[in-house]
């Protein structure tokens, strides 16, 4: 589904990402881990179109997407979250989900003004879908709250729901467990697993929380100082000497 080949990204004299390979198959959860400053988020930014990579190829469903603008990439079915929460804080919880379906709604202004039956049924469907996902992430009772007033863990879940209403093929989560307590992390764990199992979404994950990563990943890619260090199943990675060295230092 997603294939990143020999990706590199240079900021002036700094080579932040150098020769990273990555691939995500259908129905798979792949994690990218590495020490702070390893270039994980830079890889994400290249894939999602925030940065134009200075080298390498990014293929999504066989088509080259490197250097395309972010909105075009997201329309292909790749949505992402950020390390910090980026909800529309002054809008209500349900509005956050409705606005994410903007593109799927009727684009005709006239039918909106006249509230034609077609327009109404589309509005109704998007509202139903929003309600479904709010229920799914346990926020239905809070639907009319202002999103900015939710607790941090709830905001995180709302962000994932907002991604899901756009019906993505690939969900890219940048440190979704950052700042969550163990119980919330566990919930998140379950949620991500079920996205894969029940909704057939592939997930590309950046995460520091090792218990989360080891539990849910099908494969893990480790990068260190912008270079690929190791890649394989969680067990392979756990036993890889280079990885242990990078994380724990040399004995």
């Amino acid at each position: 589904m997603l294939e990143v080949q020999d990706l590199s990204m240079r900021f002036g004299g700094l080579l932040a990402v150098d020769g990273v390979h990555l691939d995500v198959q259908n129905h798979e959860i792949v994690s990218v881990i590495g020490p702070n400053g390893a270039g994980k988020t830079t890889v994400f930014n290249c894939v999602s179109g925030f940065y134009k990579p200075t080298g390498g190829k990014i293929l999504f469903e066989g088509k080259e997407v490197q250097g395309k603008p972010d909105y075009k990439i997201s329309r292909l079915g790749m949505v992402r979250t950020f390390q910090h929460v980026r909800l529309f804080g002054q809008m209500s919880v349900v509005e956050n989900l409705l606005v994410a379906q903007h593109r799927h709604l009727n684009t005709n202004l006239l039918s909106g003004l006249l509230k034609t039956p077609d327009y109404r049924s589309r509005e109704k469907r998007s509202l139903d879908k929003a309600a479904y996902w709010l229920e799914r992430v346990g926020l239905l009772e809070l639907a009319n709250r202002e999103a900015g007033n939710l607790a941090y863990g709830q905001q995180r879940r709302l962000e994932i729901a907002r991604c899901m209403v756009t019906e993505p093929k690939l969900l890219m989560l940048d440190e979704p467990a950052a700042g969550l307590n163990p119980a919330e992390t566990n919930d998140l764990n379950q949620l991500i697993m079920s996205l894969k199992e029940d909704y057939n979404v592939s997930v590309l994950l950046i995460e520091h929380d090792m218990s989360l990563v080891m539990d849910i990943s099908d494969r893990i890619t480790v990068i260190n100082q912008g270079r690929p260090l190791a890649s394989g199943t969680p067990d392979d990675v756990r036993q890889n000497d280079d990885v242990i060295k990078a994380y724990l230092g040399e004995a």
């Binding site: 999602s48 972010d70 909105y71 997201s74 329309r75 949505v79 992402r80 910090h84 980026r86 529309f88 804080g89 002054q90 809008m91 509005e95 409705l98 606005v99 994410a100 903007h102 593109r103 709604l105 009727n106 202004l109 909106g112 509005e123 907002r162 756009t166």
Partner: protein, 307 residues
Amino acid sequence: MQDLLYFSQQLVNGLTIGSAYALIAIGYTMVYGIIGMINFAHGEIYMIGAYTALIAITGLATLGVAWLPVILLVALICAVIVSSSMGWAVERVAYRPVRGRHRLIPLISAIGMSIFLQNYVHLAQGSRNIGFPALIDGSFRFGAPESFQLSLSYMQITIFITTLICMTLLSLFISRSRIGRACRAVSQDLGMANLLGIDTNRIISATFVIGASLAAVAGLLLGMYYGSVDPLFGFIAGLKAFTAAVLGGIGSIPGAMLGGLILGVSESMTSGYLSGEYKDVVSFSLLILILLFKPTGLLGKPEVEKI
């Protein structure tokens, strides 16, 4: 009693002019809310609205149309169409090509646009004042005939009611409609809205068009109220409306409404109790005071540093 009537008269005058300021101020505040920049050509869009309405009224008069509602409606529609296409064009020509550059660049290009439009009208319509027919005559009068009378003209009532309708429609549009929802999302986080597949370019165009339409309505109303237009018609009104938007908190739509009313009332009180010469002094002093003590305006939210 006399004093009360005199005070009420100033209040009525102030609210009239203030609600028209508010209509223009919406355009500044919405554009600022979405792209974080001031549309310096907005005053000219308002002026063009007034001219278009005048041309339409004159045209209808030569055609022999005399029924007032038709004249007003046609003038309104023409003004809105021409002004909103101008608003759209200003965004395409002066803002979109330089978006994402240094903030001074669109500022300068918008000022350029403003000078261009002003001079274009100078050339096309001449620089003299042109009389604007007072289509809505007459007034209600209160108070004894031989002493001070409070006069509430039909024109003033028209301005109030039209403004009220426009504001209600706008509030409904912003809070209920799909595009309004997208406008709010774009103003809060343009990048994220883009990522969620919202066509942010269209939303930005839409805000310019909405702001320009309201300015056109104000152009028609104030043209009739003042009784004349000239190519500099938009300059002072634009400055005042900008002041109103800053006063209420730029980026906030209720703020623009409130700011317009406060500015209008304080101006007419100054003219009524001090002297007409001082009214601009008072309104711009208000601006300075607000910028000194509450830079975010009355209803503006303090800018939270994004981490």
